[in-house]
């Protein structure tokens, strides 16, 4: 289809471009500029060049935040996709009971992050939380899960998986229902068992759905803030300090706009790299 006038495409793209420039390009540019200053919002900014980046890189703080955020995202995406797909396969059946269970699983996704975080704080409470009690019954030594630097981040990832699994399940269910029954029946007639039908028919046809779930879960996990703010405030010993929370902490609690801006820039570059890798993977997949 050809536009009637050369400016028509620009008119269509205009609102989106304006929004992107106003709320994305300009803020990132401002953050990049402000990252070169020492500034606390209240006193005049002072130019410090790359000192904010150097301070964050010192003692491996920046690297740790990046690795921690990536680790959390990997756990959340892998857990969400595995559980979401498993539940979708289990619950892709007619009947009121299955509909009820599907609704129950999905309900976690509808609840706000704040409510989810408070619920899990109660469950994981070191004094009398159900999870701790269950672990003790199973013979595990008493451990304050959210107070232990080794367990706090995996615990937050579990909360993320619990919240997002319902969403992944619904998307996978939609994907499963788009798999033609005729293909599955043909495979069955050819002697393919349940595993082979899933491996060679369902899985390839679910690939675009899986890519969508992976992308959206990745985006959500990178944005994790509420759950950290409420459950651990980045602790213990910075073990749950993820990027967005670290930015919040630098600017609002530690009074440093410059370092928060430097973190924002690094986070942006990291997301750009991840998005680039994802795009490249899709392009390679599209090639013959």
């Amino acid at each position: 289809m050809r536009p009637r006038a050369p400016w028509h495409p620009w008119a269509m793209l205009g609102p989106t471009i304006a929004l992107l420039v106003g709320f994305f390009v300009v803020p990132v540019g401002v953050a990049a500029y402000e990252s070169l200053f020492s500034w606390d919002l209240l006193t005049p900014p002072r130019y410090v060049g790359g000192a904010n980046y150097a301070a964050l890189a010192a003692h491996g703080q920046l690297l740790n935040i990046a690795l921690r955020t990536l680790g959390y995202s990997v756990l959340v995406v892998a857990g969400t996709m595995t559980l979401g797909l498993a539940l979708a396969l289990l619950l892709d059946r007619p009947g009121r009971f299955y509909a009820f269970v599907r609704a129950c699983v999905f309900s976690a996704y509808v609840v706000s992050w704040v409510a989810v975080a408070l619920l899990w704080m109660w469950l994981l409470d070191g004094n009398g939380g159900i999870v701790g009690r269950l672990l003790r019954v199973l013979g595990a030594p008493p451990v304050a899960i959210l107070g232990d630097p080794r367990w706090a981040l995996p615990a937050l990832a579990v909360v993320g998986v619990w919240k997002l699994t319902g969403y992944a399940m619904i998307i996978f269910l939609a994907g499963l229902q788009a798999v033609p029954r005729s293909l599955l029946e043909a495979a069955a007639l050819d002697g393919a068992g349940a595993w082979n039908r899933f491996r060679h028919v369902t899985m390839p046809l679910l690939a675009p759905t899986a890519a969508f779930v992976a992308t959206t879960s990745l985006v959500t996990s990178f944005q994790a803030f509420d759950v950290v703010r409420i459950m651990t405030q980045g602790g213990p010993a910075r073990s749950t300090e993820l990027f967005v929370y670290a930015i919040y902490e630098q600017i609002f609690l530690d009074l440093s706009v410059g370092r928060a801006s430097a973190l924002t820039v690094v986070f942006f570059v990291m997301l750009l790299a991840v998005a680039g890798m994802q795009l490249r993977a899709w392009r390679l997949r599209g090639q013959p």
């Binding site: 606390d40 209240l42 010192a58 003692h59 630098q250 609690l253």
Partner: protein, 428 residues
């Protein structure tokens, strides 16, 4: 457009990126409601303290017809501070708020706090010296008066009297006694349940107390941040020993006031026998414990030493003059003996004026409430805060996370403190 004009335009645009820096301007007109000046008061309390404060605000509002105080809850101290700074930068600051001591020098240097020297009777209020700006900070009397004591506290020991009796120990007076008392008080059941002998939030305030007790100073008189030198490291090693070697202390989960709250709850549930906490919780703990609560001064190492805590009233410079005058009227009212007494006896915070203390003594309050007396007596050992604008950054960004790291991961105290001292020398 000439090259010069273009450059000017570029400069102006870049300056625009920091617009909030120049937005700390004064609001011109005071807020009025029914002919009364509105004082917006941002406060940071929960539970009992919040209720007592709101009762007092209501009482003040009913006591006169010129001023109405609008008290707005803003989360805990740090959340309130975060909102306050942002509001100041956005030109939307409240009239009145209250701040922890460590942040006062920083905000005073930023020029956002109202100097109070010229306010009516500002130097005539008979404060308990260690709790007012002049005594709570080294050199606090040489700085313009910007902070008026409000809810002031010190850390104290709280112990379960039954547990002490059963174990045959008394509240410890030295670090060595603390270690042996914690051992004696720790109980392990066959099912793995532990009643911990001792608990203290791994946080700045308590560490500062121990630095003083071990003979150190956070900042030397020349302004160099030493974080107590060897004393700072000794304090960390003592915690590490109690947690990882003796297994008699549990660091509570959570950060900041979440950890404090967790300790209080564990104490009330008899999961810990003895803890360090703020005198602010005296009434709360006494009212909610199923056992007698005993308070005691913090133990000494080479000397006795405690920091002061809680907050001080500050007026925001950007507020209109009429609002500031009205806020000052409220602050003075709060400093009158009866209000000070009500605030102190209903919460556990220390009475901040001498006449209030005198009346409490005359009324026999401390005879009936010996736990309230502990913090007051401990004022003899107060180590004033340095008037150091960087102190808050050092606390939040540099020391606090390293304390947790040292205790929870066992990292070497000397290495961590060396790192912290180097970080403190780096410009913000």
């Amino acid at each position: 457009m000439s090259r010069l004009a273009r450059r000017d335009l570029l400069r102006a645009s870049l300056a625009g990126l920091f617009v909030p820096a120049v937005a700390c301007r004064q609001r011109a007109r005071p807020e009025m409601r029914d002919g009364r000046v509105v004082v917006t008061f941002w406060y940071a309390y929960g539970d009992l303290t919040r209720k007592v404060l709101l009762d007092l605000v209501e009482q003040y509002n009913a006591s006169q017809s010129r001023v109405v105080v609008d008290a707005v809850h803003q989360g805990d101290y740090y959340e309130c501070l975060a909102k306050l700074r942002t509001a100041i930068a956005a030109g939307a600051a409240p009239t009145l708020s209250h701040l922890v001591c460590e942040v006062v020098p920083y905000l005073a240097r930023a020029g956002v706090l109202e100097p109070l020297d010229a306010y009516d009777g500002a130097h005539a209020i008979p404060f308990v010296p260690a709790l007012a700006q002049a005594g709570a900070f080294e050199g606090g009397d040489r700085e313009p008066l910007v902070a008026i004591p409000f809810n002031r506290s010190t850390p104290i020991v709280f112990a379960n009297a039954y547990a002490l009796q059963q174990a045959g120990v008394r509240p410890p007076r030295t670090w060595d006694e603390l270690e042996s008392a914690a051992r004696a008080l720790t109980r392990r059941s066959p099912s793995g349940e532990v009643r911990w002998g001792f608990e203290v939030p791994i946080s700045w305030w308590y560490w500062v107390a121990m630095v003083g007790q071990a003979g150190g100073r956070l900042v030397e008189s020349g302004g160099r941040v030493t974080l107590g030198g060897e004393a700072g490291e000794k304090a960390i090693r003592f915690w590490q020993r109690l947690v990882s070697e003796d297994h008699v202390m549990r660091p509570p989960p959570g950060r900041d006031y979440q950890a404090w709250q967790s300790s209080n709850e564990s104490f009330l549930q008899e999961r810990i026998a003895m803890m360090w906490s703020s005198t602010a919780f005296v009434r709360y703990l006494e009212n909610n414990a199923r056992f007698p609560v005993v308070a005691a001064p913090l133990p000494a190492d080479v000397r006795a030493s405690v920091p002061t805590g809680g907050t001080m009233f500050v007026l925001m410079r950007a507020a209109p003059d009429a609002e500031k005058q009205a806020a000052w009227d409220f602050v003075r009212w709060m400093c009158e003996p009866e209000q000070t007494i009500a605030w102190s006896t209903r919460t556990g915070y220390m009475p901040v004026t001498r006449p209030a203390v005198q009346r409490l003594i005359e009324r026999g309050w401390y005879v009936g409430h010996p736990n309230d007396r502990v913090a007051y007596d401990q004022l003899a050992d107060v180590a004033p805060w340095p008037w150091a604008p960087d102190l808050f950054r050092v606390e939040r960004d540099i020391v606090e996370p390293r304390l947790e790291e040292a205790v929870l991961t066992g990292r070497d105290a000397h290495e961590l403190m060396d790192e912290a001292r180097a970080e403190a020398q780096r410009p913000a």
